[in-house]
C-alpha cells in the first residue's frame, strides 16, 4: 500500500482542554477516509494540524514523505484543502481567485490556464466565473473552494465538511466528484452525515472528545450494530402471533414488534451477528404468514455512532 498520510500521535491542547488526544492513523492512495464525530469532537482541529494551519502540541503528520511540522511548505504543496465553510476572498471573482491560487502554487502561463480550466470543468463553475464570489449561492461557493483545492492536482485531499449546507442534488454532485477522484488520491473528509460515509468512504474513523474510538470500513462498523444481520418482516395490517415460533429458531436472540414509518412489522435479532435469513424465510413459507416484505438489515451506522460516542461521555 502506498501510504500518503501518516498521522503520528497528534495532540492539541487549548488551555485546559485537550481537543485532540493521541490521534494516529494512516491513509493510502485510493482510500477515502471519513472522519466522523459529533460537533466539537476534534475533527476540524485534527485536519487543521494535518494541513499545517495549526501547530500540534505534540506529534506530527507526514504528508507524502514531508513532515508538516519541520518541512511545512513541502508538505503543503502536496495537499489540497477545503477548510470548513469553504472560505474564499469574496471580493474576487472565481476566475481571478483561481488565477491567484494557480500563481501562488507556482503555475504560470499556459500551464496555469490549463489547470484552471480543468478545475473549472471538474466543478462546473463556467457560468459564474465573472461574478464576485460574495454574490454566489452556497453551492457555488463550495464549488469554488473545491476548485481551489483541486487546482494543483494534489495527491492528498483534505475536505472539511464538503457537503455541509448543500441541497441533495449538490451533495450528490460533490460525492460523485469525490468518487471520481478517489482512485488516484488519498482523501480525508469530515462529516457528521452517516449517509455520506456509506456514499463515498472506504474507511471511517469515529472520533469523540479528541480520541479515536473506532476505525474500520463502513461495513465493519455496521457489523457492530445490533441490527447487523437482523431480519425485518413487514406484515401489512395483519398482526400475527409469530414471536413464539421465531424465538424457537436456532440463532435467534430476540424478536421485537415494530410499528414505524415502514408500517407494522417484526424485527428478528440474531445471536452474535449470525446469518438467520434463510431460517426465517423458510419458517415464513411453511407457516404461511401474510408477509409483504422480508429484508436483511446491514446494520445501522447511526446506532453504532450513537453507542460509541455516548457511552464514553456518560
Amino acid at each position: 500500500m502506498d501510504v500518503m498520510i501518516e498521522v503520528r500521535h497528534l495532540h492539541r491542547r487549548f488551555g485546559p482542554i485537550l481537543a485532540v488526544d493521541d490521534v494516529s492513523f494512516t491513509v493510502a492512495r485510493g482510500e477515502v477516509l471519513g472522519f466522523l464525530g459529533p460537533n466539537g469532537a476534534g475533527k476540524s482541529t485534527t485536519m487543521k494540524m494535518i494541513t499545517g494551519f495549526l501547530a500540534p502540541t505534540s506529534g506530527t503528520a507526514i504528508v507524502c514523505g514531508s513532515d508538516i511540522v519541520t518541512d511545512p511548505i513541502a508538505a503543503k504543496r502536496r495537499i489540497g484543502y477545503l477548510p470548513e465553510g469553504a472560505p474564499a476572498y469574496f471580493d474576487m471573482t472565481p476566475a481571478s481567485f483561481l488565477r491567484f491560487i494557480a500563481r501562488i502554487r507556482g503555475f504560470d502561463g499556459a500551464e496555469a490556464r490549463r489547470r484552471i480550466e480543468l478545475a473549472i470543468e471538474r466543478t462546473a463553475l463556467h457560468s459564474v466565473l465573472a461574478q464576485p464570489i460574495e454574490t454566489l449561492s452556497k453551492g457555488f461557493k463550495r464549488r469554488v473552494g473545491l476548485a481551489q483545492a483541486l487546482l494543483h492536482d494534489p495527491d492528498v485531499l483534505i475536505l472539511d465538511e464538503p457537503t455541509d449546507g448543500l441541497d441533495p442534488n449538490q451533495k450528490h454532485e460533490v460525492r460523485t466528484l469525490i468518487n471520481a477522484l478517489a482512485p488516484q488520491k488519498a482523501i480525508i473528509i469530515s462529516t457528521h452525515l452517516l449517509e455520506e460515509v456509506d456514499a463515498v468512504c472506504t474507511r471511517a474513523i469515529i472520533i469523540a472528545e479528541g480520541r479515536i474510538l473506532a476505525d474500520g470500513t463502513p461495513g465493519e462498523l455496521e457489523s457492530r450494530s445490533r441490527h447487523h444481520n437482523a431480519v425485518r418482516l413487514s406484515l401489512g395490517n395483519d398482526g400475527i402471533d409469530a414471536a413464539g415460533a421465531l424465538m424457537r429458531l436456532p440463532g435467534v436472540a430476540s424478536v421485537e414488534a415494530v410499528d414505524d414509518a415502514e408500517g407494522r412489522g417484526i424485527v428478528i435479532f440474531p445471536r452474535d451477528g449470525r446469518t438467520i435469513v434463510t431460517e426465517v424465510a423458510d419458517l415464513v413459507r411453511t407457516a404461511g404468514w401474510p408477509v409483504t416484505a422480508l429484508r436483511l438489515e446491514r446494520g445501522r451506522l447511526d446506532e453504532v455512532f450513537r453507542a460509541i460516542t455516548t457511552t464514553r461521555a456518560a
Binding site: T51, G52, F53, K76, A88, R103, I104, R105
Partner: protein, 244 residues
C-alpha cells in the same frame, strides 16, 4: 520572493476592488489640501516651500493609516480565509511582507497624487526641490511605520474597528512621545534613560528633522527599524492568534 510578489499583487488589487481605495485617496487629498491651505496658511506665509503641507502628515496619517491597515489580518480572520491563506505553500514571512508592501505602496500612491502641491509651489516660486523630495521620502517612511504598527495590531483581533482603535492609539503614543503630553506623565519618577528612550521613539521628532531638510541617516534608519520590528511582531502575532 515570488510568493511575496503574488500576495502583494492580490492585496493591492483588493484595495481597488472595493470603494475603500477611492474613498481613502479622495479623503486624503481633501484633508491634505484643507489643512495646508487653511490651517497651514500656505499662501499668507509667502514662502516657497511645502513645510505647511508636510507638517500635517503625522496627524493625517494618525487618522487615515489605521483605516488602511485594519483590514489586513482582521478581515482574513473574520471571514476564515486565513485558514486558506496560511495552508498555501508560502512562508509566514512572505505572507506578512506581501500584505504590508501592498498597503505601503497604496499609501505611496495616495502620497504621489499630492503632486499638484509640488507643481503649485514651483509655479509660485523656486523652492528647494531636494528638501521636498527628502520630505516626501520621510513622509513615505513614516507612513510605512504607521502601517507596520497597524498590520501587527490587525493580527490581534477579528474586529476591524478594534484594530483601528488600537492602531490609532498606539500610533498616537508614538507620534507624541517626546512631547510634553507623554514626558509630563513620566517626569519626576522615571529615570533619564527611560525619558531619553521614550523621546527617541517620537515619530514627530524624526519626521520634523527630515522635513527641515536635515537628511540624517539616523532618522531614516529609525523608521525602517520600526517597520522591521513591527513586521516581526506581526508574524509572531499571526502565528499566535490565527486559530482563535
Amino acid at each position: 520572493m515570488r510568493s511575496t510578489w503574488i500576495i502583494f499583487r492580490r492585496e493591492l488589487a483588493s484595495y481597488f476592488a472595493t470603494p475603500l481605495a477611492y474613498v481613502f485617496i479622495v479623503i486624503f487629498l481633501v484633508l491634505a489640501g484643507t489643512l495646508t491651505f487653511f490651517l497651514g496658511n500656505f499662501f499668507d506665509r509667502g514662502q516657497d516651500d511645502l513645510q505647511p503641507f508636510f507638517s500635517f502628515h503625522p496627524w493625517l496619517y494618525l487618522v487615515l493609516i489605521p483605516a488602511l491597515a485594519m483590514r489586513l489580518w482582521a478581515e482574513e480572520r473574520k471571514t476564515g480565509t486565513i485558514e486558506l491563506f496560511l495552508t498555501l505553500p508560502i512562508s509566514i514571512g512572505a505572507a506578512v511582507l506581501g500584505k504590508f508592501l501592498a498597503s505601503w505602496v497604496f499609501a505611496g500612491i495616495a502620497l504621489v497624487l499630492t503632486f499638484p502641491f509640488w507643481i503649485t509651489v514651483n509655479i509660485l516660486g523656486s523652492p528647494d526641490n531636494g528638501v521636498i523630495l527628502a520630505s516626501y521620502i520621510g513622509s513615505f517612511l513614516m507612513a510605512g511605520a504607521y502601517l507596520a504598527v497597524g498590520a501587527a495590531l490587525s493580527a490581534l483581533t477579528k474586529n476591524q474597528v478594534i484594530a483601528f482603535v488600537l492602531t490609532a492609539s498606539l500610533c498616537f503614543l508614538f507620534t507624541v512621545s517626546g512631547s510634553t503630553i507623554v514626558l509630563g506623565f513620566l517626569t519626576g519618577w522615571a529615570p533619564d534613560a527611560v525619558m531619553n528612550a521614550v523621546t527617541s521613539f517620537s515619530f514627530l521628532a524624526h519626521f520634523s528633522a527630515i522635513v527641515r531638510g536635515v537628511i540624517d541617516l539616523r532618522d531614516a534608519v529609525f523608521f525602517v527599524s520600526v517597520i522591521a520590528l513591527f513586521l516581526f511582531a506581526n508574524a509572531v502575532l499571526v502565528e499566535l492568534k490565527k486559530a482563535d
